[in-house]
Symmetry: none
Subunit: 425 residues, 2 copies
């Protein structure tokens, strides 16, 4: 088999189309199907309306080998997945009561000491040409049927019911035999724009190549996405991702699921140094990111939220003269903050941040978005600082400042000249 | 006007179909279109593949009056929304460079002191039959064109670029005249469960009432949603929300868009006290939440990320004997942390947090999720602490602990007995 099976995902529910609820099932299913070696070609979300569900099923089944649908299997009048499927596979003929589904329903209610409403019996009905997928976590059984050549699966909407059913029944049935046909790797970068990264990657991003290389940006993290297809896909994707990561040094910080904070902590551990922070405009965000990583205490000592000038002076030893002469947002202040933090926390490396997050507080010489970040490396006895001007509002300025601080720690650990690197981006 | 215009939403991006990223734009757009009086009939998500994008555009345009598409407008080879639209509206004829789009691009890069990569010029191209939708927040302009009778809008994927463009350009153009009046109000609560809140609200939640009252829960914040329809909707929704907020005291902390941190800061200002924090397991998250609010510096002094015991002892003055006898996660330790933070920051009120966020570090007597929170009120010379056992993993435990700390500050400011209130929830 040369091409992976094509999969489509259908979500059914007014609450999704109306924007009251966020559809997370599609992403969960996509990632799992992709990892199993299928090629997901489309997501579709339709209302609780018989005609819309029926045509979506027909259209998606016509263009895919596997269809996974969620939602619309409840007992009420607006749950229409079952009749829509019945119209397609059995021309709307009367459905039959499934004895296993009925027994499961009865024992579900009995096990909870609750009477079963007669309306729930609808959930034991199935089209003649479909079979039941048992649901150990709820009252709505799933359904499986063939729509033409497409293997179609219908699962309930709540993720805690849907996911176990998908994993135990759907995935083993639809997973193509043999090695995975599609492998995907991600390389996350920070401090470089998407266009500049694309220029670095050059020909690697040409369409039609296998492995295929693309980029996506989210919250200033630019990711390189590598997809390989066919035999040996895993090894080829891995090799391509490693090559891309090498090209994207020193901005590349982690693969899929990794975080900038996690990489910083790992590199601190590898260098056997403890990290401390002194945060002004980020107010604890860097500490929050670092401590989000389990086990951070062996590389993160802690720090100061030196939001007021008094705390900068009293707790971190920034000289009052420095604050008065240069201001809180200055090279001199962040360098003193970083030194103070490293000394008082007995840490090998410390990073400090002071900036104007806005919307107020800006001036001509220091507009909103101006952020100074300092790093003190106690091992080398070296302090460096750099000025940034981040675009965007308060939230974005703070987010960029926190991430830039983490990236500067990584670079300082390697002895690289952070300021120069940033310019190149 | 009897039937609302039908709207469809298209999301374009491999990262969405492959499950690497979660599509939140569809929900945002759905909710806004619905509130404007349109009927959203479908969401669809397709890969960065020309044929797939083109047929999705054609199919959705055929069945809706308004199409809003996001993504695929970047400068790289895998950004294919522009050529797909061009194929539909101009049969693939050469596109034209839009002078306004080009000028916007040039000033975007000039304003950031960065050279524009030649690849970015692609973003100034548009199909002859389309017009540009300017993007004040990024490099990708949007497009508007008619596909048959359908008014089709194409916006960039990043929400912070997409949302302002949607609100300023798309919504005014597609909003039907004389749409039914609808007013919504939200009351956010923390520290009470959804069922307990529903019991408090009682008859107000009966179906069929106008204003309609419902509840939703997200990340432990339970919100009361009030919807009024018809003439005077705004005033009636307002009055109902105020009545609900009164019933939900002291858990209710803000209306829509408000934050727990924002309410804490306001109440500190009203009481003319400065707040300080001493965070262990939350590692700076409380400080991060407080400083996310613009203008926080007049009520938030700053604090300590006393992650290690050494910092708790050396910087906050927690006696070593206390740490040895009771442990870092104890009433005695958080009370000493809160007193130390208030004294050293010269603050009127301080909150401290120490807990076991997991996954490691739990024991039989202090399982993962055990968190002590202390509040020291320097004005009253009173220190109080309370133990919590939060369910869930590291992320949830830390989130709940940070929010509980803020809620306890609010209650301490009013002199309410926090422990008792929490029990009632």
């Amino acid at each position: 088999m040369n091409t992976p099976p094509r999969a489509a995902i259908l979500s059914v529910g007014d609450e999704l189309v109306l924007g009251t609820a966020l559809d997370t099932n599609s992403r969960t299913l996509s990632a799992a199907l992709r990892d199993a070696g299928l090629e997901v070609v489309e997501h579709r979300t339709v209302r609780d309306e018989l005609g819309a569900i029926e045509s979506a099923m027909r259209e998606l089944a016509a263009r895919s080998d596997v269809l996974v649908s969620t939602g619309g299997l409840g007992p009420t009048d607006d749950d229409l997945t079952r009749p829509a499927l019945n119209a397609i596979v059995d021309g709307g003929a009367p459905m039959v009561e499934d004895p296993v589904a009925r027994a499961d329903l009865e024992s579900w209610f009995a096990g909870r000491g609750r009477p079963m409403a007669s309306i729930n019996l609808r959930q034991a009905m199935r089209p003649r040409s479909a079979r039941i997928v048992r649901n150990p976590g709820g009252t709505a059984p799933g359904l499986h049927a063939s729509i033409g050549a497409c293997s179609a699966w219908f699962l309930p909407g709540p993720p805690r019911e849907m996911v176990p059913m998908f994993e135990s029944d759907v995935l083993p049935a639809v997973r193509p035999a043999g090695a995975p046909m599609l492998a995907k790797r991600t390389v996350q970068c920070f401090g470089i724009g998407e266009s500049a990264l694309a220029e670095l990657l050059g020909e690697r991003m040409a369409r039609g190549r296998d492995p295929e290389v693309g980029t996506t940006a989210s919250g200033s993290v630019v990711s390189i996405q590598v997809v390989a297809r066919g035999p040996g896909a895993g090894a080829r994707a891995e090799a391509e991702a490693a090559a891309c990561a090498a090209v994207a040094q020193p901005w590349a910080f982690a693969g899929e699921g990794g975080s900038l904070a996690g990489s910083v902590l790992e590199e601190c551990r590898a260098a056997a140094v403890m990290l401390a922070v002194a945060e002004s405009c980020t107010g604890g965000m860097v500490g929050g990111m670092l401590t989000a990583v389990a086990g951070s205490s062996d590389a993160f000592a802690g720090g100061w939220i030196s939001y007021s000038n008094e705390l900068k002076e009293r707790e971190l030893g920034v000289p009052r003269g420095t604050l008065e002469a240069y201001g809180a947002v200055s090279r001199e202040t962040v360098e003193a903050m970083a030194r103070g933090a490293a000394e008082r926390a007995h840490a090998g490396i410390a990073v400090s941040i002071s900036g104007i997050a806005g919307p107020g507080g800006g001036s001509d010489s220091k507009p909103v978005g101006t952020v100074w970040i300092g790093v003190h490396d106690a091992r080398r006895g070296r302090t460096a600082a750099r000025r940034f001007e981040f675009p965007g509002g308060r939230e974005i300025v703070r987010d960029r400042a926190a991430k830039a601080a983490l990236q500067l720690v990584r670079w300082a650990l390697r002895g690289e000249d952070a300021a120069m690197i940033w310019e190149r981006a």
